[in-house]
């Protein structure tokens, strides 16, 4: 019973941790789905959004603004910063590279990553900034059934709740709105989309803005978990196996991929790790990703790539 309790606790904890990875992975999916660009800068965007949020929040609270109004104003400020970032990236990075191949665009996002990381720390600071938007204590469920109960962290549950809302919102956006359909058209073929009158620069601005706002949402959860600091950029590496498993073009795939990675790596670390020296969860996620890649290269939910030769 003790072992079952531990297994369930690790499984639930892993699934919820996976949802937090999905929050970061969603930003990648959005940009890839809408523009065919693998955005290496997504982790840096989470850092920028988090720093803009926490620094403005601290500024407002220190000047006596009530907490709730400070949070709303700080979220708006961070949203504006992400909008400006989206515009700058479209105007100076992607705009001039329209119709270039995917590798060129990918390389340009690597450049954007370093600029965003450096600029955000230069402007907002490079310390660790505590952020407390959600409760971080835990529930202990089924204490009567399992000794010590099953621990479920409230922050992780909040993360899952927020991810659910995000996915629903994005599904509506892509399927039901004119802009969403235009985004998908641009993703299929830049030139063809342009030829039927879809304004590519506007579409790219919108998609980077949405990805920026998703980064802001991820920053609220991860900032509460870790404090807002440079290390948040490493979350991009946690999102990568999620994308490989779920598929680069699928919003639900990002969630399912996150669940698989989260549960898989935690179970492996806790139950397999002690027998082989531990510290395996970081690479075990990639083992899972490679396994999926071999069977289904486009990921579990990705669009199958068929090219006419």
């Amino acid at each position: 019973m003790v072992l079952l309790g531990q297994f369930l606790e690790v499984l639930v904890g892993g699934l919820l941790a996976g949802v937090l990875y999905s929050l970061v992975a969603l930003g990648f999916v959005l940009i890839f789905k809408a523009s065919g660009v693998f955005n290496f800068a997504q982790g840096a965007m989470v850092l920028l959004a988090g720093l803009a949020l926490v620094r403005s929040l601290d500024f407002l609270v220190a000047r006596g603004f009530p907490l709730w109004s400070s949070i709303i104003l700080a979220l708006c400020f961070a949203g504006v910063i992400m909008a400006i970032t989206a515009w700058l990236i479209e105007r100076f990075v992607l705009g001039p590279l329209v119709n270039q191949d995917g590798l060129t665009l990918f390389m340009s996002t690597i450049g954007a990553t370093f600029i965003l990381e450096g600029a955000s720390q230069m402007i907002f600071g490079s310390d660790v900034y505590p952020l407390r938007l959600f409760p971080t204590d835990a529930w202990f469920l089924f204490e009567g059934l399992f000794p010590g109960g099953i621990l479920v962290n409230k922050l992780d549950v909040w993360g899952g709740f927020i991810a659910g809302i995000l996915v629903a919102g994005l599904a509506v956006f892509f399927q039901r709105t004119k802009t969403g359909r235009a985004l998908r058209a641009v993703a299929d073929d830049h030139a063809a989309a342009q030829s039927v009158g879809i304004p590519i620069s506007w579409i790219w601005f919108v998609v980077w803005l949405v990805a920026g706002l998703v980064a802001l949402v991820a920053a609220t959860v991860w900032g509460t978990k870790l404090g807002v600091q440079f290390s948040i950029t490493f979350l991009a590496l946690k999102a990568l196996p999620v994308l490989i498993i779920g598929g680069f073009t699928s919003v639900p795939g990002a969630i399912v991929g996150g669940l698989i990675v989260g549960a898989g790596e935690k179970i492996a670390e806790v139950f397999l790790g002690p027998h082989i020296g531990g510290g395996i969860e970081y690479w075990f996620a990639y083992v899972l990703a490679l396994a999926v890649l071999l069977v289904r290269p486009q990921g579990l939910f990705g669009e199958r790539i068929i090219e006419r030769i």
């Binding site: 230069m122 660790v128 621990l151 978990k225 404090g227 290390s231 790596e265 790790g273 970081y282």
Partner: protein, 438 residues
């Protein structure tokens, strides 16, 4: 904040904030390997500020060491071993006599440089970190793990646990886990803790955390199930704060956690807020606070607008940087007694390090009273001192909660001898006869 950051960045890029950039013939060159960017910048910045401010103090107040000004250049490693080696290669030959010594501030870089510095005849100072076996100067002629190795730290931590439990005999049957950064740094205390577990009969469980340590859920769920009596934390950067938060999330008592001295600074606890209250950490002798030397830095460096440490002035890692810089400066001063008041080579400074003897009176004279205990380096003992205390975070500041502990060499010395002998055999080094050294 923005302005400060910009000024700092510009200063670091140009090297202008640290010393006069022009390389004059009469200057002693000292490289600073630092990390002001990347995952570990929150800990690297205050440390580097302390080092830079002290070198500036020596130049501004004293006109250098006996008239020999210090020429300092900082190189950003990002805590990455490859970049650290690159910085070393670029800076080792600078100045009229090359680098006086190198201080990598990374155990990984230390491992990578240990053989290179031997060939280049440049001493490598690793105050409170690095290879623990390099305490044996007979084998590691160029390494100086001053003030305490990780094996000394492990022994001090277990001494404190024993004291809390009511005696060393109470350790038997207890469970002690080590949550460690999965790197050369984090792995270094494991042999000592295994030896201590065998000696005292406690159950020891090492638990690795992968760099940089942002995700520790698995580790803490294991800890929750295993219910160790104490968790020792050997982390750096984000790993420390995350460990404290995860401990709170699984309701593990923070006052049963003891961090090594690299897991016991302000950036390690402030992100966790109230959750960090009760968390304990070892002190590499000093803690936070302002002493006579700080007054001097304030007067001669900061008042002239040349100081780098502002918000972190007097914090734990800033003070560690100041102490580290002082020990290097005093080694050069000692070497000047033998080789003359001129810029010295690394080989000459090595002699100064090996013969450094800071008495209580000299420590007071230098403005470090209350910060340090006497330090005496010798050929057989490149550590020089192995004293520590324990501090506890009360939510606002670190409070010293213990008296002084001295690491028990009866435990660590056999390990030092054994592992350094293996190293000597592997590298075909003939250990020096320390009785013939002077």
């Amino acid at each position: 904040m923005v302005r400060n950051t910009l000024v700092l960045a510009a200063a670091v890029l140009t090297g202008a904030a640290l010393a006069t950039p022009a390389a004059a013939q009469g200057e002693q060159f000292i490289p600073i390997l630092s990390y002001r960017t990347g995952a570990y910048a929150v800990n690297g910045v205050p440390y580097a500020n302390g080092v830079a401010d002290y070198y500036n103090l020596v130049n501004e107040r004293d006109g250098g060491i006996n008239g020999v000004k210090l020429l300092v250049e900082e190189c950003e490693t990002g805590y990455a071993t490859d970049k650290g080696v690159e910085c070393y290669e670029r800076l080792k030959g600078k100045g009229p006599t090359g680098a006086a010594f190198i201080n990598p501030l990374s155990t990984g870089i230390t491992f990578a440089l240990t053989e290179k510095t031997t060939t280049d005849k440049i001493p490598i100072i690793t105050m409170g970190y690095g290879r623990a076996d390099s305490k044996n100067g007979a084998v590691f002629m160029w390494n100086f793990p001053l003030l305490g190795t990780y094996w000394s730290a492990a022994d001090i931590a277990i001494q404190h646990v024993a004291k809390e439990l009511g005696g060393a005999d109470k350790l038997k049957g207890k469970k002690i886990s080590l949550l460690y950064h999965d790197s050369p740094y984090g792995k270094e205390p494991i042999p000592a803790l295994q030896a201590l577990a065998q000696k005292h009969g406690f159950e020891f469980t090492p638990i690795p955390v992968t760099h940089p340590g942002v995700e520790q859920k698995s580790q803490w769920l294991s800890i929750r199930q295993n219910k160790p009596d104490y968790v020792l934390v050997w982390g750096w950067g984000v790993m420390n704060g995350t460990a404290v938060k995860e401990a709170a999330a699984v309701a593990y008592p923070r006052d049963k956690m003891i961090g090594v001295w690299w897991s016991g600074a302000e950036p390690d606890v402030t992100p966790a807020g109230d959750q960090a209250v009760g968390y304990k950490a070892l002190m590499l002798q000093h803690g936070a606070g302002k002493f006579k030397v700080h007054e001097e830095i304030q007067k001669h460096v900061h008042a002239k607008g040349k100081g780098l440490g502002k918000d972190d002035f007097g914090q734990v890692l800033y003070n560690r940087g100041v102490v580290n810089a002082m020990l290097g400066v005093e080694a050069i001063r000692k070497a000047q007694e033998k080789f003359g008041k001129k810029p010295l080579t690394g080989e000459q400074v090595r002699w100064g390090l090996e013969n450094l003897n800071l008495t209580e009176a000299r420590i007071k004279e230098l403005g470090f009273e209350g910060v340090l205990k006497p330090v005496k380096i010798s050929c057989t003992d490149h550590e020089g001192a192995r004293d520590g205390r324990v501090q506890q975070w009360d939510g606002k500041a670190w409070k010293v909660i213990s008296g002084w502990y001295t690491a028990n060499q009866a435990t660590t010395e056999p390990l030092v001898k054994d592992i350094s002998a293996k190293y000597a055999a592997e590298k075909k080094i003939t250990p020096r006869d320390c009785s013939k050294e002077s």
